[in-house]
Symmetry: C2
Subunit: 362 residues, 2 copies
């Protein structure tokens, strides 16, 4: 897909540079928290190390959306918004750490998941009790720490108090809706009778709003955006967020592990009821539906089973349909972006982000 | 122990009344969050129900300390401080929900622990997957929600922004130190070689500061307390917090389940390295030490094993010593309270709280 820009040329958005600035904020902030923990005892080092290493691997999309939400509302480039944007990355890490415990995932961003890391620490020290349980408990605490730290970083971002309390309304809504969405996601897996419609509801709350719309609205509200601009952010954010999740669903089945950072087919092994899977099930004939039901959610799913599921996702046309839907949603987001009252260069930056977040391979 | 009051009579501190006001704030706040969750789907009802029921059972000590920390600094009785105080109770609930997952506890406040409750929901609906894992994942999400909500409630308490950001410094420190302290607690259990000194370090960060000192300092800072008063709060809070935890340790072994809300001997079954246990181990002869090592941390500890451990805790003089230490620490707190520059009636209220939190039976 080509990205039309207001100047007719592809705008070089300093995404890498923003990523580095976010990284610097996070490292400085974690160093301060490290000193707080050090006062309790040096044995707390592994908590901070785990947080630091995990934070290095993110795509920083939520930080980028909140930054450009601020710039689009006329906010100037400054340290305050980079701190607020970094707070979203800390929040996201908390969610991932707990998510990996809930799904019992082995890896995250190509490294062992936090609970696996602490289980290994336990095992290598030959401590009493069970390594897995030590790992889970440590990861719960580490996620709690990141959750509290994200909110501390936002509160101490330096944004003026009245704007901050406007922004917090989005932040608070985002957190409650994300966790509610995660519960629904889990409930759909447990009920094991997903419809496309119900899978979409999970996507809407667990990803679409959380990944794109809420970060944009947070940046916008912190910068004092008016009602029209906030509405435009929603018009851009909801379709793009849905497209982002659909891309994630496709990568979860067909992605290259060296780029996604997680084993191929993990979503299928966990029995995730994605829109991709729900679409295939709605179109499957009896034999295909039986095969999906047999393999989906099988923790021991092997290469043959994975290949069979992939073939069904292709043969039913589910992959083709989902890809078409990603293109359509991305286009919709770009149109919304182009007609929004955005301060430049946020218009070009957000169009580029629309493509980057849906054409990605990992 | 008698409580000397400045007026020479026992002051009727409206503890019950404060408790009711905190309860009202929490119910109103949860009703608002319920509407946020309802927008996602009615299936989220059980999350809110679990939070509401758990919140009904608390002793509200942290709310009381923060309220009287505010009043002692000259703050007037108002809705804002009750909201801020209620935020601590929500935070505490989050910590308990996650703690019960980490310890795999059956009950909390006489009711099934959150993860057990959701496991039962799973089982009774005959959903796919394992009830225990559904319960754990739900409780992790519920704890995360309460964690976020506590911070939202504090931020929207209505306390003026400059005072609020002073208060947040305590709140943030409290949260990081509590979670660090919980990690240390778990580490001590895993290492299984506790000294009294190391058990005290855990108590200091996990309970003493968290239960008394930080709530008092939060209330004080929100009300603009000066340095001398804050120092007095620490002089009162640290010994009292330690005494509170020692009482908890004794109740964990000798308490009446109908008053403590948890099965007798649960701490011993979990292998908790309390100061009480560490003191007994330091004084035990070879036979006693061997018996402690055999029973401590045994999930199947029965009535006979429990009776044997109790006898050793008494025979080594550990119980007598811990009781003497509770009296001494409580006295120290009361002396600090009497010499502090406190606005009445906070002086009498805090003396009464010192007794109530250490002479309790549940």
């Amino acid at each position: 897909m080509t990205v039309p820009t207001s100047s007719g040329t592809r705008t070089p958005v300093a995404a890498a540079q923003l990523g580095e600035r976010v990284q610097d904020v996070l490292e400085d902030f974690l160093a301060i928290q490290g000193r707080v923990l050090d006062a309790l005892g040096e044995e707390l080092g592994p908590l901070l190390d785990a947080a630091s290493e995990l934070l290095r691997g993110g795509k920083r999309l939520r930080a980028a959306f909140s930054y450009w939400g601020w710039r689009g509302a006329g906010g100037s480039d400054c340290a305050e918004i980079v701190r607020a944007a970094a707070a979203l990355e800390l929040f996201h890490d908390a969610a991932l750490i707990h998510d990996d415990v809930m799904d019992d995932s082995d890896t995250r961003r190509g490294m062992p998941a936090a609970h696996r890391r602490f289980a290994t620490l336990h095992r290598s020290n030959r401590w009493a009790g069970r390594p897995h349980e030590y790992g889970v408990a440590s990861a719960i605490l580490l996620g709690d720490l990141c959750l509290c730290w994200s909110d501390e970083l936002l509160a101490t971002s330096g944004v003026a108090p009245d704007r901050l309390s406007e922004g917090r309304r989005v932040f608070d809504m985002m957190r409650t809706q994300l966790m509610g969405g995660q519960y629904l996601d889990m409930l759909e897996q447990a009920r094991a009778d997903t419809s496309v419609e119900r899978a979409r509801r999970v996507v809407r709350f667990k990803t679409a709003k959380y990944t794109v719309e809420h970060p944009l609205l947070l940046g916008g509200r912190l910068a004092g955006a008016d009602r029209d601009l906030l509405a435009a952010y929603t018009d851009y954010g909801l379709p793009l967020g849905e497209a982002y999740q659909l891309r994630d669903d496709v990568l979860g089945v067909f992605g290259d592990p060296s780029e996604t950072g997680k084993p191929a087919g993990d979503d299928l092994r966990e029995g995730k009821r994605t829109v991709l899977v729900a679409t295939a099930l709605e179109r499957a004939d009896a034999a295909q539906a039986a095969a999906v039901r047999r393999h989906l959610g099988d923790p021991a799913l092997d290469g043959d089973g994975l290949a069979a599921l992939r073939q069904i996702l292709v043969d039913t046309g589910a992959v083709r349909d989902v890809e078409a839907r990603i293109d359509q949603l991305t286009e919709q987001a770009i149109v919304a972006c182009r007609s929004a009252p955005l301060a430049p260069p946020a218009d070009d930056a957000l169009c580029e982000l629309a493509v980057r977040s849906t054409a990605r391979r990992g």
